[in-house]
Amino acid sequence: MSEEVAPHTHFQYADARHQAETALSGMWLFLASEVLFFGGLIVAWTFCRHWQPAGFDAGSRETVLWIGTVNLFLLISSSFVYSSGLAFMEAGNAKRLIQCCVATMAIGSLFLLLKFYEWHIDISEHLFPAGPFKINGADAGGARMFWSFYFVATALHAAHMIVGVGLVGWIALQARRGAFADGWLTPVEVIGLYWSFVDIVWIVLYPIIYLVGRE
């Protein structure tokens, strides 16, 4: 039963601060689990690259570098924008928080649009690892494997982005309803952690996808 003993405080907590810190640590722990989730993928990826370096290099040369790079800058700036929103809200400015959330969502959506466009390019160039494949010869096996990892990793990251855009939108709605007016910012902070994490995942994926082996 979600009865509250005080505003924003569920009955098992001593006070609002106790609850807020707990929520943050919960998100941190969830992110630790996410690290292992993506980490498992990256370890497998690295292992396979060592096994077939030439094929992976041939595969990675086909990636669309400019989109990956633009997306990298988009995400880094989105984290910056979102954190500014948090700072504004700490100073009591809900309107700015809403604007920052909307901007974050816009940048996130742009990222996704570019990502979809990139997938479109990849697939029309026969880089999807199943079926007829662009790269032939000795490197085909490794290159296919590279593209398998590419699609799994980017799809997984995009799924996280979609969830993130939704969550930031929810923050904006809450802010509009005045939920954070009394200085209770826990959801803003918790979602911020998540958003930055998704951003960092891209920072890690970027070199693995676009840079390593490109020469």
Binding site: H18, F37, G40, A130
Partner: protein, 539 residues
């Protein structure tokens, strides 16, 4: 934390709303535990029926009824249901959900809504798996080795794997909830070294939930990708690496086998002191043994792959590390024995289960060492010896621990006492039936009978018939509690707050507890097993 008095909260959690809705949308950890209990009981009997059919088939050398294909589907269904939909959630998620906040003196878990969500994820995963298993089944075994699973298997591999994937997130959510709750919601005075051992063991289990399950999730995702699109990540014919799958799978699944024992070790450490009326011997050793088992568990996965062609160096290393796991396991056994020594032992049903656990777990653990020995494993790998090994631990150990926990906390959960005599009889019958079922399998494996075949050479028949006979007794022993526990809900005597004279916080609130657990948050001044200071507590 100051003491907060909540006067309006003095209704038992069972009478706080009776509609279906009040159960399905509850965020009360105790009600969620009941939801889990009902679901895993159903899964247990489903998985059990598959096992019964397996044992039925093996009565005669050529196989009783089924074709080899049916047989493969049966043992796969048995393994998948029992591992992911019964044993993993049994003690930690079901019993843990009920008692963790109570043991901590908390009013609920840290994230009650996440807790409810995790039950729904579990059910969603369960239904995926059931759908697949009933609409044709899967014939890969619970381990899903590639390329069999991805490109040769017949059946709904993707759907089952999806089910396991989804239920994996349910256990991650529970793990997060437990860890955070244990850190943040302890009652005043409840320091780490005053925590019940059960809490420590769930803490260790939760670490595995949170850190190993995501690796399984990504592995299964890659497996689904390979299966759906026929691309090679693991399939050698398509340029993949099958050993990569085994490494990733066992990186999760070895720690996961400890998910299936650590909570049981915790239950037994809880029960033995109460029924021996003595302080737990070597408390700190016991709790740190739990933690070190959880840590070492991450570094031994290669012992499942000794004959896979991995390098000899890796095998030697994994073999040695596997021996290390036996050290904390043995520490626990000796500490229980030390606790029993000169205790005033009472043989109530929970205690009988717990004592049975000690013997069976020891057998299982020691045969684990045989398997961890490289040369021995070349002979024993993939034989019935391995089957006997892990059933001694998972069924003899963990399922006994689940029944021990169920009986021990039953008065708290339902507010009713179960019928003691018949419960003792069931516990003994379970021990007997279990040994008759699985001991012959050690011998069969040693003689070379391989696992996962639906027929066998005639000279193995006697031992197989013995095993099947044992399985019949075991089945009867498992059915008994279903009846008498259900009966006790309606006709059982009312349970007092503390029927066993335990010192844990969960016994300091009425049976069944209030919705908000405690009227006044308790303050803790001593450890959970300080029986020497409480002679008068005797009942």
């Amino acid at each position: 934390m100051s003491q907060i008095v909540l006067p309006q909260s003095q209704i038992s959690y069972l009478s706080d709303g009776v509609s279906l809705r009040s159960w399905l949308l509850t965020t009360d950890h105790k009600r969620i535990a009941i939801l889990y209990m009902i679901s895993i009981t159903a899964f247990f009997f489903l998985g059990g029926s598959a096992a019964a059919l397996i044992r039925y088939n093996l009565i005669v050398p050529e196989g009783m009824i089924q074709s080899a294909e049916t047989y493969n589907r049966l043992f796969t269904m048995h393994g998948i249901i029992m591992v992911w939909f019964f044993l993993v959630p049994a003690v930690p998620v079901t019993i843990g959900n009920f008692v963790v906040p109570l043991m901590l003196g908390a009013r609920d878990l840290a994230f009650p809504r996440l807790n409810l969500a995790s039950w729904y994820l579990f059910m969603a995963g369960g239904f995926c798996a059931l759908y697949a298993l009933f609409s044709g089944g899967v014939d890969t075994g619970w381990t899903f080795y590639t390329p069999l699973s991805s490109n040769y298997a017949q059946g709904h591999v993707v759907v089952v794997v999806m089910g396991i994937f989804i239920s994996g997130f349910s256990t991650i959510a529970t793990g997060i909830n437990f860890i955070i709750t244990i850190h943040r919601l302890r009652a005043p005075g409840l320091t780490w070294y005053r925590l019940p051992v059960f809490i420590w063991s769930l803490y260790s289990t939760s670490i595995i939930f949170v850190l190993a399950t995501p690796v399984l999730a990504i592995t299964l995702l890659l497996l689904m990708f390979e299966t759906l699109f026929h691309v090679g990540v693991f399939d050698p014919k398509l340029g993949g690496d099958p050993l990569l799958f085994q490494h990733l799978f066992w990186f999760y699944s070895h720690p996961a086998v400890y998910i299936m024992i650590l909570p049981g070790l915790g239950v037994v450490s809880e029960i033995i002191p109460v029924f021996a009326r003595k302080e737990l011997f070597g408390y700190k050793f016991v709790v740190w043994a739990s933690v070190s088992i959880a840590i070492i568990a991450f570094f031994v996965w290669g012992h499942h792959m000794f004959v896979s062609g991995q390098s000899l160096f890796a095998s030697v290393l994994f073999s040695m590390l596997s021996y290390f796991v036996a050290v904390p396991s043995a520490i626990k056994v000796f500490n229980w024995l030390g606790t029993l020594h000169k205790g005033r032992i009472r043989f109530d049903a929970p205690m009988i289960y717990a004592l049975g656990f000690i013997g069976l777990f020891t057998m299982g653990g020691i045969t684990g060492l045989y398997l961890a020995a490289l040369a021995a494993d070349v002979h024993l790998h993939d034989t019935y010896f391995v089957i006997a090994h892990f059933h001694y631990i998972m069924v003899g150990g963990m399922v006994s621990a689940y029944f021990a926990a169920l009986h021990y906390w039953w008065p708290k959960i339902t507010g009713k006492m179960y019928p003691e005599m018949i419960a003792r009889a069931a516990a003994l019958l379970m021990f007997l039936g279990f040994n008759l079922t699985f001991f012959p399998q050690y011998i069969l494996g040693y003689l070379g009978m391989p696992r996962r075949y639906h027929a066998y050479p005639p000279e193995f028949q006697v031992l197989n018939v013995l095993s099947s006979a044992g399985a019949t007794i075991l089945a009867a022993a498992y059915l008994l509690p279903l009846f008498y526990l259900t009966y006790s809900i309606f006709r059982g005597a009312r349970a007092p707050a503390n029927p066993w004279g335990s010192l844990g916080l969960e016994w300091q609130t009425p049976s069944p507890p209030f919705t908000k657990n405690f009227v006044v948050t308790p303050t803790v001044t001593e450890g959970p097993y300080a029986f020497s200071k409480h002679e008068t507590f005797d009942v």
